[in-house]
Amino acid sequence: MSYLSIEFSVLFPLFFLLYWALAKKPFYQNGLLLIASYAVVASFDINFLAILITYSFVLYGLSFPIYYSKRSGLWLAIAIVAAIINLCFFKYFDFFRVQVQAFITGLGIDYAIPGIEILLPIGISFYTFHSISYLVSLKKKEISIPSAVDFALFLSFFPSLVAGPINRAKDFLPQIQVTQPREIGNYNQAFVLILLALIKVLCLNTALADNFVDPVFANPSSYHSLDILLAVYAYALQIFFNFSGYTNLVTAIALLLGFRLPINFNMPYFAHNLRDFWQRWHISLSTWIRDYIYIPLGGNRQGFSRTQVNLFTAMTLSGLWHGASFTFIIWGMIHALGVVLLNIGDRYWGRDRLSQLSIWLARFITFHYVCFAWIFFRSVTLSDATEFLAAFAHNFTGVALNTNVILYFALLLIVFFVYPLLAKLPDLLIKLLDKIVWIFLPIVWIIILLLVLTTAPAGIPNFIYANF
């Protein structure tokens, strides 16, 4: 069930009523949340629920030796390996089957590895990440073993199950384990987040995809280079709107249930270099990769060159995490290479030299580098990506323009410069709403939402990151 569907919108007020009727007993609220989370998983496929429950049981069982045994390091390793094998089996089996098959065939062996029907369970990447943060915190004794229900809810909390943000056990378990009654967060903030989500995902994401991105990526060779360039910019915006809009929505749902989710975006396209970009884009993933891959690899403790190797490995793995495809690996490597080059530049020419020279130039270059990487992220195969780039290089002449690039480039330029102002609008709106007497609030919201929903094209758009 999509959180943008009519079904969800109708069911949510009912759930909300039931949930807050149990306000005095957070213990019962947790039970209700767990049932709701499992219902969401089962609405995709009942097998996904079976996998999640089995996974939760196994890891909960392994929690005890990690916490109590003298050989806790060994048990931690076993648990992490189990979690990763589970993820890899569902996510990468077919990818590796094809590679191994190519290898076998290359050796001249006539054997076909049987194809097995494996579906990618909803949210598996995210609950795997949740659980690894839990296991490590348990080993470090930062947390104690929670009750089985609290643990199961920590893995499957429905707002962040489908596509994050990635919760840390140390921060999120205490929110589940409260004994004092929970409180609804700032509801004006929650409703503004929902509004942002609807504008971003229903309107902007779909309009950009349908008009500028999808047709060009499907058949780049019949488009003019300027159309192609516009398609890249449009995709950069589309994926931001899609993912940050989704994050806004689930943050709002969590707020209305009395939870706080980690911040995932902070004006990413305003980054003045790649390092900065990764502190602003999908923050819960990049900090996760830093803490659970980069630092365990050695981080920056073993000299400059080893640091770069660690960075490169961590970012390439982050690429592979997005999907079992070479396009994602290349995407990760482009970012990795960018950061390594940035580090080398910083070392020999001084830190943030370019940003000091001109912050706008630095932002412009960073945005374009990120856009270049997006081409690989969006392309279905590597040859699609090269064909896209070839079309961009060749189609300056001989092909007619399809879009009014002058208007849209001008719009983009304006947006780029008023970005900081735009980012302040939600807070301004919250302040305005705070001043309105609550009894009139529905009128305001009905008018706003009617306008937004009427502008939105029909259909429920997908959350791109729900596939990862």
């Binding site: 306000a23 190519a102 194809g115 609804i184 003019h224 879009t403 609030l441 919201w445 929903l453």
Partner: protein
Amino acid sequence: MTAGNKKFLKVFYLLCITMMALLWLQQRSINAYWIQTYHQGSPLSVLDKYSAWQVGGDITAFLSTQLESVQADITALNDETIAVVNNHLINMQDDIPLVDNQSAEELALLIDSQAVFKSSSLLIFPQKPFLQVVEIKAMDKEQVITNSGLLIVSPAFKDRSEPELIVNKDNRFLLEKGQKVFFVGDSLMQGVAPHAMRSLLKVHGIESINLSKQSTGLSYPRFYNWPQMARETFSKNPDIKLMVVFMGPNDPWDFPVVRGKRFLKFNTPEWEGVYRARIQQLINAATDHGAQVLWIGVPNMKDTKLNVGVIKLNKIYQSQVTIAGQRYIPSNDLLGMQDDQFVKFLRIPNRGNVTLRTDDGVHFTIIGQKRIADKIISLLRFNDSMDVNK
């Protein structure tokens, strides 16, 4: 009352009033969504008899008309600007990219890549699709199920039963430079069309129009009206000579014919009559403009109920398309499927088991999409220097 309770009541009030008002205002799109998703009348439609309820739908309808006119203005402005830019700023040599050396290399590659299938036991591609004549079995006219009564047949239908455009013996569709191909369909076609369009453009310099749209079909014209859409497209593009149709999985369900009236049950004679009429309307949109139709059958689906449905649809497509004198081809054999069984993998020599379908058991992987796109291309014949057959 505690502060927490007060806050809850405020939010609950806000949620409920806003939700109810939006259900009232958005009733028409909700009803359309419900029918499309659950194939039965929306629970909200019981309120349709009250005029006060209808007002909500009218408000939204009025608002969307206003928005559409603004959008139309923007589109007109855009079109003007694009025309000016195309005429003056960009040095246009030709509307259609010329076939160049690079394309010749790609053609060679394409032939190479298809040679992979040469020795396959499940041979479905012609051995050398661009070099050899494709044999197509004539349709078995006796299998055609006719359905009288509701069937609407184009008056000029007999004249077109032997379309003049097929001039070549091998029964392929002949395309001249400057003529266009029009792709119609649902999300299945959305996956397939881009691959076919690329070969058409790069290898043969043939442009195409792709309007395929997810969640569409012939069952719910209030959501998306393909026959009407096709007519508009043909009026705007008289150079379309071939319409390729590939759709179905959104269709094997009950649907309403008159708004608010009972649903026609899937697989009943009444349902079939209306469905055939819609197929015919779509075909007529093409034949009335002198274009031909290539209709691709839907492959087997993983979901049992859906599979039974599409098998029935295929029978109807095949017979109705054949009655209209157009060409139907099945797609099951292209994906290594026989009978009614769903198969996800296909064994290809030197490549092992290749995945052809995605996890949903409906859509295709890229390899699956390409197989269908290649089949479409192999049914075309090109009257240009690049056609090796010439």
